[in-house]
């Protein structure tokens, strides 16, 4: 339960309006944060597996489950024994605790005898249309994994805001979880269709063959950064592989120091070097100095029937001469050509 608070709009200069809104912004969340801590049945940011306490565990534990759920059953589960979750050496794994029921909850009713014609009582499942709510399903995973710093802020993350379940991306009952293998990008592309289309373009990072993983650049579980990147800024992320462009250079190119994505598309482009456009038009979006940077270069300047093939257009365009576009450390390199 919460406190209902009303705000009466102030009268009403712009300044007062702003101050009033700020005051409201200051007070309301504070009061709500405090008061609503008493609402014990609400979803929390720290998770406890919401398992049915009033049902007893099975008598024989996993054996009761595996009598039915062998490799011939509708829900085969044996691949779990190839995974970290079934490593008995780790006392924190499900199988070192309540075995199958660590995650699926006490299952004596589900495993017990059922009158003919009656449905078998459901047990907590992890597929989207299973019996568990999103909070229940994620709560089971986070009950253990939130002890790691990496997962502590899951509830802050972009994926949590999209109401994703852990099992939307992760497969527990398989030998190798696809999202933790070279197949990862295909899992991400299931939602991020634009990035898949980009990865198929002429110039792209090697996502298609799995040499680069989405998680090399993005943190799926928690990040305070825009686009959930793994580093503190876009440039720091790019420089983690492209260290040669890090500098600092004697002659810096201003947009390089600010944001690589000013000129490059991170996921793919049909222009060389993942550029958003190609030179010279890309460069002319910022440079309109006297003489050649201002020229209207058109088809007359392209090879073919016309004779005026121009060095400004063909090959690499502006970069034919200004090849130190990421910066130069040469004393005479102010024009980024040495």
């Amino acid at each position: 339960m919460g406190i209902t608070t009303r705000f009466k709009p102030a009268k009403i200069t712009p300044t007062q309006r702003v101050l009033g809104a700020l005051r409201g912004a200051l007070l309301l969340p504070a009061m709500l944060c405090a008061s609503l801590t008493h609402a014990a049945d609400d979803p929390a940011l720290i998770f406890v597996a919401e398992l049915p306490f009033d049902i007893p565990y099975t008598e024989d534990g996993a054996d009761d489950c595996l009598r039915c759920h062998d490799e011939t059953s509708e829900f085969p589960v044996m691949a779990i024994f190839k995974t970290d979750h079934a490593n008995l050496a780790d006392p924190n794994t499900p199988f070192a605790k309540q075995q199958c029921e660590s995650c699926h909850g006490p299952g004596s009713e589900h495993a017990g005898r059922v009158r003919r014609g009656n449905p078998r009582p459901a047990i907590l499942g992890f597929e989207k249309h299973s019996s568990g709510t999103l909070e229940q399903r994620n709560g089971v995973c986070l009950d253990c994994h939130q002890d790691s710093h990496d997962f502590r802020t899951w509830q802050n993350s972009a994926h949590a805001n999209e109401e994703l379940a852990c099992t939307d991306c992760h497969k527990v009952h398989t030998h190798s979880d696809p999202v933790k293998t070279r197949e990862q990008a295909n899992v991400c592309f299931g939602c991020h269709a634009e990035q898949r289309a980009d990865s198929m373009k002429f110039s792209s990072h090697p996502l298609q063959d799995g040499q680069l993983l989405c998680s090399d650049c993005h943190t799926p579980h928690s990040s305070l950064q825009m686009a959930s990147i793994t580093h503190f800024s876009t440039n720091e992320l790019c420089f983690s592989c492209h260290e040669e462009k890090r500098g600092p250079f004697l002659w810096e190119h201003a947009p390089v120091t600010e944001d690589c994505s000013s000129c490059h598309e991170a996921h793919g482009s049909n222009h060389p070097a993942l550029l958003t456009r190609r030179s010279p038009l890309l460069c002319q979006q910022c440079h309109s100095n006297r003489d050649h940077p201002s020229l209207a270069l058109g088809a007359d300047n392209v090879l073919g029937d016309t004779p005026r093939a121009e060095v400004f257009m063909l090959g690499s365009g502006c970069v034919n001469c200004h090849s130190q576009v990421h910066g130069s450390n040469h004393p005479s390199g102010a024009g980024l050509n040495r």
């Binding site: 534990g61 038009l281 006297r290 063909l314 450390n329 004393p331």
Partner: protein, 706 residues
């Protein structure tokens, strides 16, 4: 229902007060009800049917790969870019000791330039050691040619080379060309240790050594002539990443240190001038990427103020340095350049990043999140005057290096309310302020508002709508000749120009019985630069996609996707250096799609999957001017791929596997096609071509499990 409207949060003080207020009041009222209601523990019973891993097991997969032709796309990063045969060799072996320790050895693609190998040892939940090695090749353009010969770390011309004023008057050009391989390779070795102590601490150490060698296409000029040439890459990077994390109850702390040291074995690219030299410039020298280092310390604290209120504070301080000795101002002995201001740059750039986020849930449906971020780049490098010797031809003006600083502040607040299972509304506001030095506009301010609605009218049907609006303006734009470098005063660079942005996204998703998933989405973004006369005037991008997957039972899977991606921009320029007298319209359109089938029954000897994917790009540019309208030739790139993988089990321990990958690639690129070394009088081109080929890759191997 609790409603909350954050109408304007644009003050750092207010934000800090907000966090502080929330923090103290929450602590004051909160109960210590974190998580005491655990399921009652019981001793797990012995398990007869559980097939826990023990002992050792592994496999070897050995066979061959045939590549039908040289290619630039299908094999660009996996070492299969050359025609010929390759060994296919993968292997894995693990041993689990009675103590629970596990030793793993793994090798993949050992017969190709994309090989990787690893050794892992550890006790899960306690500690882990890992040694990894991998190679990552990258194939540049095919068909490169050059007259330069790489000798003694310099690109020299053939001994009998006769220079010419133009490429057409170089008598030895055609006979002196040789093929140049434009490819690079990374070789990465890394070692990591993870140690979990006392259940709450987690320590990580990662050391990485990477070598990147090869050459890529670059260019080097003398005044009005230039040559495309291979630029060597001989880089080494060593980095160390140390971190410690403590997580207990409500508190989580993460401390980290990162050091990266980059070394370039080549300090300069020297080349001989193939053109008739002007003013004695027979040779040129270009500075290659200087050695540099970057280190950073960071700390993050996450505190659960109440079970529903989470606060995270993160801060990172970084420092980048570079102190390579300068090259002389020119290689031209005829030019007496003035003495350099100093021998090396002694550059230092500090970075600072501080972020905070407060999230709270209120009731069952309301969620509030507030973010603040400040990023600073402080370039402390001394600014000095350097006399410029332009392309080793003439000593000209003195230029002063600029130490670019930037400060970016971002404040945002968002809220989400789920009315019921049927509907959720979300909304947010952000402000982004950026300050730059040496810019015509010292400060830009952007205000962003967004809202989203998720509607689930049925359990299997969902609609998503999203709308984002942002307006960017800033301080007065001042064209100071010292800063603007002769820029047309009407130019508005797009990253500082006034901009109105509108973006919306709509999608519908169908999810029936965990078997059928269908998603249709449409995303449009429109940028308008209302006060720009020269520069980027408007930009629009539109993306539409369809995605469908279907599982027919637990053995057969289908997947279909298709998308259209179109971006269009209009920009203008001024040849006369006054008002805008030309305009360019760029339109890029990409169609992509694919169909995949996978058949993986548990009890069958056969398993296979196949997919077809298509990508079709066209790029159009049109320049309209007072004296002419000009349509560029189109840029096209079409790729059709087919991929088949299959496996047949001969016995429990032996299986055959194979695959067929086929790609038909057709492309046209007016910028490089038919651009021979002598096509342009003042450009000695490398003769690269846009890719056009059919390529087939066949693999066959036998896998032995032991």
């Amino acid at each position: 229902m609790h409603g909350l409207s954050i109408r304007c949060i644009n003050s750092k003080k207010s934000f800090i007060a907000l966090i502080t207020g929330c923090f103290f009041s929450s602590v004051a009222f909160s109960q210590t009800d974190t998580a005491e209601d655990k399921v009652p523990e019981r001793t797990p019973p012995p398990c007869e049917y559980c097939m826990f891993e023990s002992g050792s097991e592994g496999f070897i997969n050995i066979g061959g790969i045939t590549v039908s032709d040289d290619n630039h796309t299908l094999g660009r990063n996996n070492g299969l870019d050359d025609e010929g045969q390759h060994l296919l060799l993968d292997g894995y072996w693990q041993k689990i000791f009675e103590s629970g320790h596990r030793l793993e050895l793994e090798g993949n693609d050992l017969g190709t330039d994309n090989r990787s190998a690893s050794l892992h040892y550890g006790l899960q939940g306690s500690y882990a050691f890992a040694l990894n090695y991998y190679e990552l090749p990258h194939r540049g353009h095919l068909g490169g040619q050059t007259v330069f010969i790489n000798e003694r770390n310099a690109l020299v011309l053939p001994s009998d080379w006769v220079t010419g004023g133009t490429t057409q008057t170089m008598p030895d050009l055609e006979t002196s060309l040789s093929t140049v391989e434009l490819r690079t390779k990374r070789k990465n070795s890394n070692f990591s240790v993870n140690y979990k102590a006392l259940t709450h601490w987690d320590f990580n150490l990662n050391y990485e050594h990477e070598e990147k060698t090869g050459q890529k296409l670059s260019a080097a000029s003398f005044l009005t002539t230039t040559s495309q040439l291979p630029r060597p890459q001989d880089f080494t990077t060593d980095s160390i990443d140390l971190s410690a994390a403590y997580t207990k109850d409500k508190l989580s702390v993460h401390l980290a240190y990162f050091l990266s040291y980059f070394e370039n074995q080549r300090e300069a690219l020297e080349w001989e001038n193939p053109f008739s030299p002007i003013n004695g410039a027979t040779e040129g020298r270009m500075a290659l990427e200087p050695d540099n280092q970057f280190q950073q310390v960071s700390a993050a604290i996450t505190y659960l103020i109440t079970p529903r209120t989470l606060f995270t504070l993160q801060s990172a301080l970084g420092s980048g340095k570079q102190d390579d000795d300068f090259l002389p101002a020119t290689r031209n002995a005829l030019i007496a350049a003035s003495t350099l201001a100093r021998d090396a740059l002694d550059a230092e750039v500090d970075t600072q990043n501080t972020q905070a986020r407060l999230s709270t849930r209120i009731g069952k449906g309301l969620q509030l999140q507030i973010d603040a971020q400040q990023y600073k780049r402080d370039n402390k490098t001394e600014e000095s005057d350097f006399q410029q010797v332009v392309t080793d031809n003439f000593a000209t003006v003195v230029a002063t290096n600029r130490a670019y600083d930037i400060t970016r502040d971002r404040l945002s607040a968002s809220t989400s309310y789920r009315f019921s299972k049927l509907m959720r509304l979300r909304a947010g506001v952000s402000s982004i302020d950026i300050e730059r030095n040496y810019s015509e506009r010292e400060e830009t301010k952007e205000k962003l508002r967004w809202m989203k609605a998720d509607i689930d009218p049925l359990n299997w049907l969902r609609f998503d709508f999203g709308l984002t609006r942002s307006d960017r303006d800033g301080s007065t734009i001042i064209y100071d000749p010292e800063i603007s470098d002769g820029q047309n005063p009407l130019m508005r660079r797009y990253h500082v120009a006034d901009r109105d942005r509108t973006a919306w996204r709509n999608s519908v998703s169908v999810d029936i019985g965990n078997n059928l998933l269908l998603n249709l989405s449409n995303e449009i973004r429109e940028d308008d630069y209302p006060d720009s006369a020269i520069g980027l005037l408007e930009s629009t991008s539109e993306f539409q996609s369809l995605d469908m997957s279907y599982a027919a039972g637990r053995s057969l899977y289908f997947h279909v996707f298709a998308s259209v991606d179109e971006s269009r921009s209009i920009q203008s320029g001024s040849e006369r250096f006054n008002f805008a007298d030309w305009q360019a319209i760029n339109t890029d359109t990409t169609y992509s799609g694919g169909i995949g089938v996978a058949y993986k029954p548990r009890k069958s000897k056969w398993q296979w999957n196949a997919d077809v994917s298509l990508s079709d790009f066209s790029g159009e540019s049109e320049v309209n001017q007072l004296r002419f309208d000009s349509q560029f030739p189109d840029i096209n790139a079409e790729s059709r791929r087919f991929n088949l993988e299959l496996e047949y089990a001969l016995s429990e321990s032996l299986s055959l596997n194979g695959g067929l990958a086929y790609e038909e690639y057709d492309s046209d690129d007016w910028q490089i096609d038919q651009l021979s070394p002598s096509s342009v009088s003042n450009l000695l081109a490398a003769g690269i071509e846009s890719p056009n080929y059919d390529i087939t890759i066949v693999t066959a191997a036998m896998r032995w499990h032991f």
